[in-house]
Symmetry: C2
Subunit: 258 residues, 2 copies
DNA sequence: GCCGTCCGTTCGGAATGCGTGAACGGAAGA
DNA sequence: TCTTCCGTTCACGCATTCCGAACGGACGGC
């Protein structure tokens, strides 16, 4: 049900598809991309060269990479969020005090974007920095802890819009794919005060999240703390303990900003 | 002399021009953009909607903003640089010990991109965070300290290529616009061991920079430290002092990485 | 309460410029 | 040397983009 309301600009779409493909394969050659997207080499050629010219791709020998030009736009978008400067410090603080992975997430267009991500010392050593998480990551709202925390604080109609737009795609066997089940879960989150993600996003990854609301009661973002299942106990007391840390951090943020 | 070698994809160019315009005006409406780029409203309409659909723009009421989607690409590009993770810590360290602004810069396609930027406590208070600098910023090589430090460590032919591609545009009265003068300056930098930027980029801004080279002697990046002229003395001893700090930091980085 | 003006949106039509495929040249590797 | 891969070039035909005019809704002045 992804109706392209107005007439989409196909040329732009293919250019962007190329950029996306370059990122996904972490560098690709012209022929690889032509095969992958089923386009003529000459077509890809023209697109790649204009993208390089614009600074959005870089050529290194015969392989193309994502250009640093993106960084300025990304930083601009991130910096526009009034919470970012403050929230990032709390992410670092959370990562340090818990030793787990922490991030701050906001909603945009029905998707959850990580604005800052950090990993605690203890986890960093064992993971050797190989976490799939990183600032800028985009998630669905229904299968990550922060996303669910955000949804739980939204109006039912807003949640409905988001579900209609993005559905409930599954990424693991534990992902909630039933709408009624999700609404029950959101109710539980509101009661509990925090959200739990138990391998719903990635197998072997568990996390808990809590939302930040502004004085008008609008949700403006969410923090989460998580890690591999063997390091994140399931019992309620540990969860409560982490949730308390989240709440403290959020309280401190809210008192400085609002 | 910006010859578009192959046939540029004009549609992609206008899409990107729109994104750029949105960023420059920090949010813009459809009509504003149509006026600005001299395009029909319907054309802009189609472009904006596909860009929103792809997540590269967001719509907030009637104004469009740069989307968070850029962040993932930017972080990806930045993370590809093998020095980044280490260099960023040194940027923070430099900002803290000097109290000034510090950044780490790399060259891509003949331009200098800031990968990380930080501002020392003492400066932050007085500037109230209003610095024009930020990670992702793109500079010309010839009018910033790090850029000149990079050029000074490159082969003459490489420098020639860059100058041919980008020229020597002036941003202040102090910008070096003469090629011979620039080469003299680069010679002086090599002799001195560090580069100085005295209001060549922005009026009232002074900085010094030094390059990082890998074991093969290739330049891989540069650090710089700077601030408003009233806080950055011109006398050689202060410059030498800061240069020494830069050298120490670079030495420490090189010993951990190489 | 009405008209003027602004916004974004829609749609048919027309020319532009995008996409193709075949041919070229150059760099490796067999 | 011959093969095979790469990226590059070019002329052609048609899909697509771009336009302009018309529409509908929101706002504000008169």
């Amino acid at each position: 049900m992804t109706d392209d309301r107005p007439r989409p600009v196909k040329t732009t779409q293919t250019s962007l598809a190329l950029v996306r493909a370059v990122r996904e394969s972490d560098g690709a050659t012209l022929s690889e991309l032509a095969d992958r997207l089923e386009l003529a080499k000459s077509t890809v050629h023209n697109h790649l060269h204009t993208l390089v010219d614009e600074g959005f791709l870089v050529r290194d020998g015969d392989t193309f990479h994502v250009g640093l030009q993106f960084l300025a736009f990304g930083e601009h978008a991130r910096g526009r969020n009034p919470l970012y400067a403050t929230a990032r410090r709390h992410v670092y603080s959370l990562a340090e005090t818990t030793g787990h992975e922490a991030d701050f997430i906001v909603e945009e267009n029905g998707r959850a974007y990580s604005l800052e991500y950090a990993i605690g010392e203890s986890s960093r050593r064992s993971l050797s920095e190989s976490s799939p998480f990183r600032a800028g990551n985009r998630f669905y709202m229904h299968n990550c802890a922060s996303g669910k925390a955000l949804l739980a604080s939204m109006s039912e109609s807003r949640v409905g819009e988001i579900l209609e737009r993005w559905g409930l795609p599954a990424t693991t066997d534990h992902t909630i794919t039933d709408e009624a089940e999700l609404f029950d879960e959101l109710e539980a989150i509101r009661r509990r005060g925090y959200a739990v993600n138990d391998e719903e996003l990635i197998d072997g990854y568990r996390s808990i999240g809590a939302a930040v609301t502004d004085p008008n009661g609008e949700v403006v973002g969410a923090f989460s703390v998580g890690g591999p299942t063997y390091r994140m106990a399931t019992d309620e007391s540990t969860a409560e303990e982490l949730a308390q840390l989240l709440r403290d951090e959020i309280g401190s943020l809210e008192s400085t900003l609002f």
